[in-house]
């Protein structure tokens, strides 16, 4: 069943990777891992939207795998006619130094350990965290067990804290996965979560390996596994790691745009931002703040940049808007406008939120990485600085957005902070770590400098 569950998602991953390859036509070998890492999330996003569409057109009557395979074949044909049989330049593996081999082997070992950790947790807690079965898999069961009446999952009669309004990317994938394997095995949500967890790690690795060095990407990925909590959170089988992945993917693609001026990165960035919103409501906040980062990323070609970004964002955004038009209101909206205003005007709430946020930011890991980035600061040109500023703005605005949500929450503020803040911060940790390692000098340069000085 584990192998079958794994194989179930393969067509989605191929579909996503082919889509990335069609949009971003880079042919260097170093772009392949990045395309695959982006393809995992993009594919799972596309497959969920396809299933959402079939629920409206012919619920329970379309074989999701067959549909995906047809699309894979169609995309392969389009790719062939567009570019012929793909010929990637420099197909030889890059020659690595002893330092790079050492870091790369440590990274591979860390990934193996991550998989072991994941397996240990899901064996002892196969249903995942409370939210996994009471929100996400509950919705998946509504869709899988009664596809003709899938809309029942949005019933306002469902308990308020079970969030019937939450977007459906995760439950839809679980539901069609169950359709394919023929039963409600927990291996399907586990496999989806493992894919997102590993894709987040490989996104860090492949992005930094693509435009920096293997040493820097290995080090950054090891630190991501070590401090972000992405692996243990992945075992909860909830939507936090997927939304983390999409926020990270969208941010790093916008960063890549500032470095390479290729609009294809903005199309993908927009799509990933849209999928963040289709995964969890925090993703909607990210969609709202991303235009500010876009303005910074492209001050000279703003109009063109917006068009490309929106062309990527449009499809998931339309799906979200339609979904929100039929979903019950969010629990945060239960607060009246007067209450919200009263809370916004209450200075003590700002103090509580600030204190709580600072308690996270003042812990060992953020301080260590802050000083590491400061000491390892390297020289930048204008484009590099613009890219860094894009990441800083994204991170800062997302944190401010979280702060605002806490400010207007209808729940007891301290309870709400206690139960959700660490998860929210985890969603932006990969983006922050990426920023740290973009700023920092890479190990190769340092060791090379030292060797030069010795010789």
């Amino acid at each position: 069943m584990t192998l079958l569950s794994f194989l179930t998602f393969i067509p989605s991953v191929i579909l996503g990777s082919l889509s990335v390859n069609l949009i971003w036509t880079e042919k260097s070998l170093s772009s392949l891992p990045l395309k695959l890492s982006l393809g995992v999330g993009l594919g799972l996003g596309i497959s969920s939207m396809l299933h959402f569409a079939t629920l409206h057109i012919a619920p329970g009557k379309v074989n999701p795998i067959l549909l995906q395979v047809i699309l894979v074949i169609a995309l392969s044909i389009v790719t062939y006619y567009k570019a012929g049989i793909p010929k990637f330049h420099n197909l030889r593996l890059p020659k690595l130094s002893w330092l790079q081999w050492g870091l790369l082997i440590a990274f591979i070992a860390s990934v193996i350990v991550s998989i072991l950790v994941f397996v240990n947790y899901v064996i002892s807690r196969p249903q995942g965290a409370l939210d996994a079965w009471s929100i996400w898999n509950r919705a998946a069961r509504f869709i899988h067990r009664d596809p003709e009446n899938w809309i029942a999952t949005l019933s306002p009669d469902i308990a308020l804290l079970r969030h019937a309004d939450y977007p459906l990317l995760i439950p839809l994938n679980v539901a069609w996965g169950w359709d394919v394997v023929g039963n409600e095995t927990l291996r399907i949500p586990m496999m989806q979560s493992l894919l997102f967890t590993l894709a987040t790690i490989f996104l860090m690795f492949s992005a930094l390996a693509f435009f920096r060095t293997v040493g820097q990407s290995s080090l950054a990925s090891i630190i991501l596994i070590a401090v972000s909590g992405v692996v243990s959170s992945g075992t909860y089988l909830i939507a936090d790691v997927p939304v983390t992945y999409f926020i990270f993917a969208s941010g790093l693609l916008m960063y890549l745009y500032t470095q390479r001026n290729e609009f294809s990165f903005l199309v993908l960035s927009g799509f990933m931002a849209g999928l963040a919103g289709w995964t969890k409501n925090e993703g909607l906040l990210f969609i709202a703040i991303s235009p500010v980062a876009l303005i910074i990323s492209s001050p000279k070609n703003l109009k063109e940049a917006f068009i490309y970004y929106l062309s990527g964002l449009l499809l998931p955004l339309l799906v979200i808007l339609y979904f929100k038009s039929i979903a019950p209101p969010n629990d945060l909206a239960t607060n009246s406008l007067t209450d919200m205003l009263r809370q916004v005007m209450d200075p003590s709430r700002y103090g509580i939120i600030l204190k709580s946020f600072l308690s996270t930011l003042q812990s060992r890991e953020p301080i260590l990485l802050f000083f590491y980035s400061l000491f390892m600061w390297r020289d930048f040109n204008k484009d590099h600085l613009r890219g860094i500023f894009v990441l800083v703005i994204m991170f800062s605005l997302q944190v401010l957005g979280y702060g605002f949500i806490y400010l207007i929450t209808p729940y007891d503020l301290e309870w709400h902070l206690l139960t959700s803040q660490s998860r929210l911060f985890m969603q932006i940790v990969p983006l922050a770590l990426f920023l740290c390692f973009v700023i920092s000098a890479d190990p190769e340069t340092l060791f090379l400098e030292r060797q030069k000085k010795i010789t």
């Binding site: 807690r125 067990r145 070590a226 000085k453």
Partner: protein, 147 residues
């Protein structure tokens, strides 16, 4: 003065090594923690789900609203809030795509109460009911006043 860049590079190399070791040490801790996981309540969850499967099979409907009556509906009863809430959520999970609503909310209602508590509830909520015991404290209450 010419030693300053060399010193800076040396410090930076030490920082890289320290960060690398810090990362590996953290990963080792994560692995150790994953090998010492306490009771996660997974078995209880499976048991509840198995019992609720019997309730699901006994219910004559597979769409719509179902009520849920528990200790929360007994006047003056003392109960553990989160245990009760978790049981409600587990029942909703098990009975999907039926929509579970707390209280006597529909023609068919799941009752998770011991016999003496059921008596107390019936006295407080008189009506025309059919009570079907499924297993232990799991019952179905058919509200005959609803056509």
């Amino acid at each position: 003065m010419k030693y300053i860049p060399a010193l800076q590079t040396g410090i930076r190399i030490i920082l890289v090594v320290l960060l690398f070791l810090f990362g590996l040490s953290n990963i080792k801790q994560i692995l150790t923690a994953s090998m010492n996981i306490g009771d996660t309540g997974s078995k209880e969850l499976d048991l509840w789900e198995a019992d609720m499967q019997l309730v699901r099979e006994a219910l004559p409907i597979n769409r719509g609203l179902v009520g849920y009556i528990s200790e929360e509906d007994l006047e003056g009863a003392e109960f553990a809030y989160w245990d009760n809430e978790t049981e409600f959520l587990l029942t909703q999970y098990a009975l999907a795509p039926l929509i579970l609503k707390k209280g006597l909310a529909a023609k068919w209602n799941v009752v998770v109460l011991r016999d003496q508590d059921i008596e107390q509830w019936l006295q407080a909520n008189p009506g025309e009911y059919e009570l079907i015991n499924i297993k232990g404290r799991f019952n179905l209450l058919h509200d005959l006043s609803i056509p």
